[in-house]
């Protein structure tokens, strides 16, 4: 007898959330409290709409921004939607080069989705058990160092996966990324395509199984296959169809694709995927998994020459990735004034303004917005990545974003660092802030301090996204937040070459 479906699997099987799209206005008019729990907390995520238990009635929309590319006109539409939410409105740049908007009422959704569609944006299948936003080289197409432009590939994969015959009921979420430069660290994805040569031809070696969770953390491993760029969309579809059919639907904490690799064995998994690929007319070459990614990701901050002569991108640090309506509107305006309106989001939760002619740089750098979003942030702020934290997420045990910003600012006031140090902050063991990827990882927890339970972090050290990638390992299982600055200050001095400033009051 087949095992009974879990509540989530039942909800997905009964009705695909995409079917709610035509009824959205009607549902909004009924009020969110009248929706059943499965619709509210599961199915709406197929439209990119997230109920937030911490702010009941104020919803989140997560977009899809393939390769993190967005145009000023699109950003302006999103800024306008947030502006309507007043003080409730905010947005986060995510670690998947994406954007999520908070503070929206359910009534806001139908007009917002219509306005988004009019400017070529979608939030479709951006949450829950779906292929999430597909990432690529944030400097794609403008990068003097790129091996190939990932934008059309990422776009093509998205189009294929969101087509009418694409997967709609995966056992679990699925992350895909395409590398295009020597610093494209992507091994935290379920499926990563890394640039690699095969018989003198530049294509991609396939890596599978990377993910972080409360139960297990793994970097993707070589599947032993090589593909040409144009094969990526159909191959991705093959992987997802196999995952949809064979992934574990009994235990959600054991259903990421790495568990399927474990179950079938790497060879068995490869054979199964190749068979699926063959049914779609595809054929892959064997490969030893060697690739051309050799170093840790660049921040891309500051003024950087593009491969197009005379043009630059300007990377701006957005502290812990948090935006508001006014900042988004101003970013759009600045990108239009000084560039061609194109912007990019990075996995480090920062933003780039692309295609700025040399004669516009001075004016751009004088924009008041850059007082807030600096092109030359401190060595810690440049690479501080944070999950949402307990202001909006009920799993989180600490307010990660505000804590991260305050701690980093204080450390930068106290210390001089010879180079950037990445800190990755996450509020709970689900590890959305990717703590294992940071040189310093911080995970929210509770700890005893002076006889009281207080907010604290576990510290992880040693994450490395370079040529020999390493996951950070536990260093301290509970540093109370009140002691965190001092503990980190000592660590940075002892292990990262920081020097204490002498003029700190």
């Amino acid at each position: 007898m087949a095992a009974a479906l879990s509540k989530i699997e039942q909800a997905k099987a009964e009705l695909c959330g995409l079917e709610l799209a035509p009824r959205l206005a009607e549902l909004a008019a009924q009020g969110w409290d009248s929706l059943d729990e499965a619709t509210l907390t599961i199915r709406l995520k197929w439209l990119g709409i997230f109920f937030r238990p911490v702010t009941p009635g104020r919803f989140m929309v997560r977009l899809r921004l393939p390769n993190g590319v967005i145009h000023a006109d699109q950003l302006a539409v999103l800024a306008d939607a947030l502006d309507r939410c007043g003080e409730w409105g905010s947005a986060d740049i995510t670690t998947r080069q994406n954007l999520q908007l908070r503070g929206l009422l359910l009534e806001d959704m139908p007009p917002l989705l219509t306005a988004m569609e009019a400017v070529g944006l979608t939030s479709r299948q951006s949450g829950h058990d779906n292929p999430r936003n597909i990432t690529g080289n944030p400097f794609a197409g403008i990068d003097p160092e790129e091996l190939l432009d990932t934008r059309p590939l990422v776009e093509a994969i998205q189009q294929r996966l969101l087509a009418a015959d694409g997967p709609r009921n995966l056992p679990r979420k699925f992350n895909i990324a395409v590398g295009g430069a020597p610093d494209s660290f992507l091994l935290h994805n379920d499926l990563a395509f890394l640039p690699a040569e095969c018989q003198g031809v530049l294509g991609f070696t396939v890596m599978v199984g990377g993910f972080f969770s409360a139960q297990r953390n793994a970097l993707a491993i070589p599947l032993g296959l090589w593909l040409r760029g144009e094969q990526l969309p159909v191959f991705s579809l093959a992987v997802l169809r196999h995952f949809e059919r064979c992934g574990n639907r009994q235990a959600r904490n054991k259903s990421r694709v790495m568990y399927l690799v474990d179950e079938l064995g790497l060879e068995g998994y490869r054979e199964a995927v190749l068979a699926e690929f063959a049914t779609l007319g595809g054929e892959a070459s064997s490969h030893d998994g060697q690739h051309l990614v050799t170093r840790a990701p660049r921040s891309g901050l500051g003024v950087q020459p593009q491969k197009q002569p005379g043009l630059h991108w300007v990377g701006l640090s957005v502290p812990v990735g948090r935006l508001d309506a006014a900042a988004m509107a101003e970013l759009a305006a600045v990108a239009r004034r000084h560039g061609n309106g194109e912007l990019r989001f990075t996995e480090a939760q920062n933003v780039l303004i692309a295609n700025v002619p040399a004669d516009r740089l001075e004016a751009l750098l004088a924009e008041p917005l850059l007082q807030r979003f600096s092109p030359t942030p401190g060595a810690l702020m440049a690479e501080a990545v944070s999950c949402t934290g307990n202001r909006y997420c009920s799993f989180a045990l600490i307010p990660t974003k505000t804590t991260a910003q305050a701690v980093v600012e204080e450390l930068e006031r106290r210390l001089e660092l010879p180079h950037a140090v990445s800190t990755h902050w996450t509020g709970c063991p689900n590890a959305c802030g990717q703590p294992y990827m940071g040189e310093i990882g911080l995970m929210g927890t509770k700890a005893r301090h002076d006889g009281q339970m207080v907010e604290a972090v576990k510290l992880f050290l040693g994450g490395d996204m370079g040529a020999d990638p390493q996951l950070a390992e536990l260093h301290d299982k509970g540093v109370p937040l009140v002691q965190l600055v001092q503990v980190l200050e000592n660590l940075l001095v002892e292990r990262f070459g920081a020097r204490r400033r002498t003029n700190v009051g």
Binding site: A29, G31, S34, E37, G57, D80
Partner: protein, 516 residues
Amino acid sequence: MSAEVVSPSPVRVEVAGSPWTVEGGKLQREFMSLAAPGESDRWHQLQALQRGHLPLEPLIVQLVNGAVSPQADLLAALWGQIDRAGVERLLASAAGADPRPWLEAARQELPRLALQPRVIAAWLDPLLVHQTQVDPSQQLCWLEVLAHFQDPRVAQRLRRRVLELSRQGSTAPARPDGRVAALPLLPLLGRQRQRQDAPLLLQCSLDPGPLPWRRAALEGVALGLSAWPLPLLIPALERLAEDLSPALAAQAVDLLARVPGGQRSLRQLDGRRMEPSVAARLQRRLLCTPLVLVVHGRQGGEIPLVFTDLAQQLAQRRRAPVLLQALTAEAPMADANFWHQAQRAGGLTMVPLLLLPGEHVRRDLPALALAWRSAAKAALGESAASRLSLRRHPFLGSWPTWHALLVEKLEHAAAGRPWIWLHHPLQGRLAQRYLQHLARVLGRVGLAAPEPGQPLELPEGVGATGLVVPLGLAPSRMAESLNMGGLAPCTWEVLPPLLDLPGVRTFLLDRLEALA
């Protein structure tokens, strides 16, 4: 873990600094593995408990007999698992004495779980009873826990309490204001979405009182927005939009922008005295209506490219549909999005991009307006269409700003050379008066364009070289025959269509973008 634990004599065991009372050997070992608060495994274990992967009964027993303290994270994990009998045992025990951890747990999990029939069946009735039995000083806290359930009985209690607090505030302003402690009740009352609560929530927003109270009430209005009767809601929001508190006024403006018919209110508010940031917000909330740009068109209904480009750019700027209607062609098809936007903005706007008051302006435009009214009825039905306004703007050639622009652009294009302007032949007294007026504006009399194939005859004494200005926005037969047909003197330059001049295009984009 078995559920056969009945030992009445608990044994006290210290686990990782946290006292646990356990009952029996097997059970003891398993309870000892449940981490104490602050221990790293606790989060994982509570997640497992929340997912139904750990047995409940031993924990309930421990909570009931006081061996385990009812920490908020533990209670949060229990909400979705426990049955009614278990709830009643818990609430009747010492674990149900202090409402604070319950409230923390409720805020964390109930917004989601209180929609589940199983959770409602387990918790609602016991909580309704419990809330009336506790010490009065704790009733408010338990009411907030209860208020996460959407139920008429809950709404009634919330309503009564809010009303009491509201009256206390107005009748005894000197007493300590209980309203501040009860702020969370107002959004929760809004979420109950009982139509009868609209007057109370709106009154709490409007009445003088602590600003946090008024703002919480308005957030209650926001969270139940679509439930409230519009005849009550809209006037109250209009008043709030002019409130001295910018925060209240701003949210009222944002809410007005969301309700049916709210655009009309926003337009009425436009221009009133408001705090600058609120006035700016109001401008941002005013929605543009879909535009119908009436253009002359060419033979066969063809619309010149300059118009389609203009319409596309304008639609982007206004974030609203823009249709081009050629006088020489069938009316364009208005799609569902066009009518949707018209409904949201409260109407549609017709702008004739015609330069002269010929037959088209005098006769065709009224007929077109009638046709759009009929189209609205066909698309939306009689009732919805009656709420749409059709705004008709005067033809472009009558705008004083257009005249000023013409003078500037034509003088600039002539660059000191003599110049003349040509117009399509017009008939009728009105048209003649218009031409005389334009002649005064431009400082020279216009010439009627020659018949097709006839050469242009310049007035005497205008000079050997100069500029001919065909008065038209887009390419037309008149302009083409002057140029290509060699009908203009070869030493005279023929000015391109006016929309090809950057200043003209920018002028039209700016002016049309600014229309409501």
